[in-house]
Amino acid sequence: MAKILVIDDEEIVRQTIRQMLTRSGFEVEEAANGAAGLAAMRQRPADLVLTDIIMPEMEGVETVLTLRKEFPHIPVIAMSGGGRTGNFDFLATAEKVGAAKVLQKPFKRATLLEAIEACLR
């Protein structure tokens, strides 16, 4: 089964997503920020990265850019609570820098699985 790296600064969010994915048989690895996520990828690359956009340490958009550069064949899904309606449209920016899909938080499990399956297909 595919391995998915979840990068989010909120532990409870990471845990929720982990549960959602493991229930469908995905292997899940977690990282608390962009830098940690990149380090994990370099050590043992995942099949797909799910990353938050607004985070401390390495910012999400930068993370997406670096991932796309270093691992051009690994799809990245960006997610954000700020979504499309804040002062800055984070998700649109993430799409522009190469995110395969974007997700507005909060989302239902079905929505998440649908996006992942579309990327891995």
């Binding site: 549960q19 229930r23 700020g82 938080k105 909060p106």
Partner: protein, 737 residues
């Protein structure tokens, strides 16, 4: 006494007197060239006679001594000279002739004999001591006045008289001139028409000279041509040469006098001179001399020329010359006064024209030390501005001012004016005012103080109707306030964005974990139902966050076809806990589905706002809120409100039995930032946002309110199946039943 033989003169008065006395001595029988007593008395008599002859020659009068029957026995030197100068008949200068006969024959005396005959007789006969009589005695060129004094004397032959004729022309003229000057001055002072004054001047001079005619050539200030003012006898030929002609290039003495501002004497027109045409016209009209005297204004500008034309050559008598100069001065005053009056009138007209063109009322207002107010000037525009005529305002300045500005405005004006006087600086105030009709306006008054005398201040000012500008200013302030509010809203939006991010992140576990817990929970159990409740609430929070973000960023609404009754139901479930127990809520949403394409979140916002307003209307008191939802009746009997198309609408009405809305503010409740709530308790945006939402849905919101009875809001929303929708839209709606 005829002119012949007169040429031998002059004869010495002394000689004639001593000859006469010698003749008498010679005839004396007691004088055979001896120094007898007779001889001595004869010598004494001769001396007296000589002395008399000397005395009568120095008397400044034409003198004659008459014997008792009126025969002239002796005349003085002056008498002889007068006779010679005036061409009297006879070589004996009247000696030996009857005095009254001589007078009757005199060509220059009108008819003195009957007047003085009896009186002279009385003197000669010793019945009367003396008499005096004034009479005119003109020469061909000059008016003269003489005074006759006859006095009784005692001679050897009995009575007799001494008759003296004094030339009092100067005295007479002086009195006449004085009277004429007085008359002229009184005409000027009583502001008689200028021409009347000038004609009077001409007449005065004409009556004091013989055969003279006068004219005044006036240079009108406006017209560049000359105007001749003269009495009817003025020769047409001369008038034609002057009247209506431009001064420049005119060849005549008066033009020279005018241009040089100096008197010009044409002593004899018959001598070839500068003005041949004019001189010829003068001679044709019978005039030989012309004297022109310029009439100047006080600042030295020639305004007219006085002219006197005489049939004889030479200059005028000094006394008359002086009179004419003085009269010219008086005429100058008259012309100057007339010009000043014309200037004043022109200035007044100009002021009136300016005042009627200025978009405001001009005024001059005087405030005396005792507080008395006088409106010296108020332009006609005051009527337009306030509805009061300037006359009304001037008659009752204080009352009208108070009626226009009100007590408060008047006091404000008074205190501002008082402050301005201390520094003599202008006042510029905008005050609310009321027209006579009751119409409310805003008046701007700009006035400058001027100290007229100690304690008295004159205010020169203008009153302007600035109602429109003031309204615009108010609108601008409102816009500024709105801008400030929108900046505040933007800041709030930024804040909301930050909060939304955190809430959304928090919702990830709530929704995600609940969802998975729901999967695990036994079906139809209590746990399942509770988790579903959490799920619904979490979804609501998610919607609310989206709504907050949408509000702060004006996102495009997400519209879908829904049954409005269900949307209402969703809102109601959230709002129900907010309603205080004192308020009863009656809900009737009917049985018929009301399918409309709406943004459900915005519908929630609308319902929430209307309901919270309804609750606020009770101000803590108890009452009832009625919520009705139905299809709008669209029969001809109950037409839809104006502004709606002919199509099916749903009506949501929220009616409360609260305090109601003051009719004065009812028209403004949809204005942005209008709120009746205290500062900090309401943004005043609620209803304006609601109206925006309803309009964006092609709907309409109306309000009816009765103070003390309550308020009802009706929201009209177009139902699907209308002209603007695709057919069958309602059936395909995801939530349709």
């Amino acid at each position: 006494m005829v002119g012949q033989g007169v040429r031998e003169a002059p004869i010495s008065a002394f000689e004639s007197a001593s000859e006469a006395s010698r003749a008498r001595i010679a005839r004396d029988p007691g004088d055979p060239r001896s120094l007898s007593s007779h001889a001595i008395s004869a010598i004494a008599y001769r001396d007296v006679a000589e002395l008399l002859g000397t005395v009568i020659d120095v008397v400044p009068a034409n003198l004659a001594i008459l014997d008792p029957d009126g025969t002239v026995t002796q005349v003085n030197d002056r008498w002889r000279r007068f006779a010679l100068e005036n061409g009297y008949d006879g070589a004996d200068f009247g000696i030996g002739r009857n005095y009254l006969e001589i007078c009757a024959a005199a060509p220059s005396v009108a008819d003195p004999v009957p007047a003085i005959g009896e009186r002279l007789k009385a003197v000669l006969e010793g019945r009367s001591q003396s008499f005096t009589d004034d009479y005119p005695c003109n020469s061909p060129s000059e008016r003269r006045q003489f005074r006759m004094i006859a006095a009784a004397i005692h001679q050897r032959r009995g009575g007799g008289a001494i008759v003296m004729h004094f030339d009092v022309t100067g005295e007479h003229l002086a009195a006449g001139v004085l009277a004429a000057e007085r008359e002229l001055l009184s005409l000027v002072a009583s502001d008689r028409p200028l021409d009347e004054v000038l004609l009077n001047l001409c007449e005065s001079v004409e009556t004091k000279t013989i055969g003279a005619i006068c004219a005044v050539t006036v240079f009108e200030s406006k017209a560049p041509s000359i105007r001749v003012v003269a009495r009817p006898g003025f020769p047409d030929a001369l008038r034609q040469l002057l009247d209506g002609r431009p001064l420049a290039g005119l060849e005549c003495p008066c033009a020279e006098a005018a241009c040089g501002n100096a008197e010009v004497l044409l002593a004899d027109a018959s001598i070839w001179g500068k003005w041949p045409r004019f001189q010829e016209a003068m001679l044709d009209a019978g005039y030989r001399a012309c004297w022109s005297v310029p009439i100047s204004s006080p600042d030295g500008k020639v305004m007219a020329v006085f002219e006197i034309y005489r049939p004889v050559d030479g200059s005028l008598d000094d006394r008359l010359t002086r009179f004419i100069r003085r009269a010219a001065n008086i005429a100058g005053i008259a012309i100057d006064r007339k010009r000043a009056a014309e200037t004043l009138r022109a200035n007044e007209e100009r002021l009136r024209a300016i005042a009627s063109n200025i978009p405001g009322a001009l005024y001059e207002r005087i405030v005396r030390s005792d507080g008395k107010v006088e409106i010296v000037y108020l332009s006609d525009r005051y009527l337009e501005l306030t509805g009061y005529t300037p006359e009304e305002a001037r008659a009752n300045p204080d009352r009208v001012l108070e009626e226009v500005l009100g007590k408060e405005g008047r006091q404000t004006l008074a205190s501002m004016s008082k402050a301005a006087i201390s520094t003599m600086s202008p006042v510029d105030l905008i005050l609310p005012a009321r027209k006579k009709s009751g119409e409310a306006i805003w008046i701007r008054t700009i006035a400058r103080p001027r100290r007229v005398q100690e304690g008295t201040i004159a205010w020169d000012g203008v009153l302007l109707d600035v109602t429109a500008q003031h309204e615009a200013e108010r609108q601008r302030e409102l816009l500024e306030q709105q801008l400030m509010q929108s900046q505040k809203a933007e800041a709030l939006g930024t804040l909301a964005g930050g909060i939304a991010h955190d809430i959304n992140n928090t919702l990830v576990p709530i929704i995600g974990l609940t969802e998975m817990a729901l999967e695990d929970a036994p079906a139809d159990g209590e746990l399942q139902s509770n988790l579903s409740g959490i799920m619904r609430a979490a979804t609501r929070i998610q919607d609310l966050v989206r709504q907050i973000l949408a509000f702060s960023r004006h996102d495009l609404p997400v519209r879908e076809a829904v049954d409005l009754r269900e949307t209402f139901g969703d809102s109601w479930r959230l709002l129900k806990p907010m309603i205080p127990a004192t308020i009863r809520v009656d809900i009737d949403v009917g049985q018929e589905p009301l399918i409309a394409v709406v943004d459900a979140t915005q519908m929630h916002q609308t319902i929430m706002n209307l309901l919270s307003n309804a609750v606020a209307a009770f101000e803590g008191a108890s009452g009832t809120i009625e919520i009705r939802m139905s299809r709008a009746p669209s029969s001809p009997g109950s037409p839809l409100p104006a502004g709606l198309e002919a199509r099916p609408y749903a009506i949501l009405s929220v009616a409360d039995s609260g305090k109601g809305i003051d009719p004065a503010v009812l028209g403004r409740i949809f204005d942005p930032f209008f709120t009746t709530k205290p500062v900090g308790e309401g943004t005043g945006l609620g209803l304006s946002v609601i109206q925006g939402i309803v309009r964006a849905h092609s709907g309409l919101i109306t309000v009816e309110s009765t103070l003390g009875k309550g308020t009802c809001f009706n929201v009209y929303l177009p139902l699907t199946g209308g002209a603007g929708d695709r057919k069958g839209d309602a059936d395909r709606g995801p939530r349709s039943e």
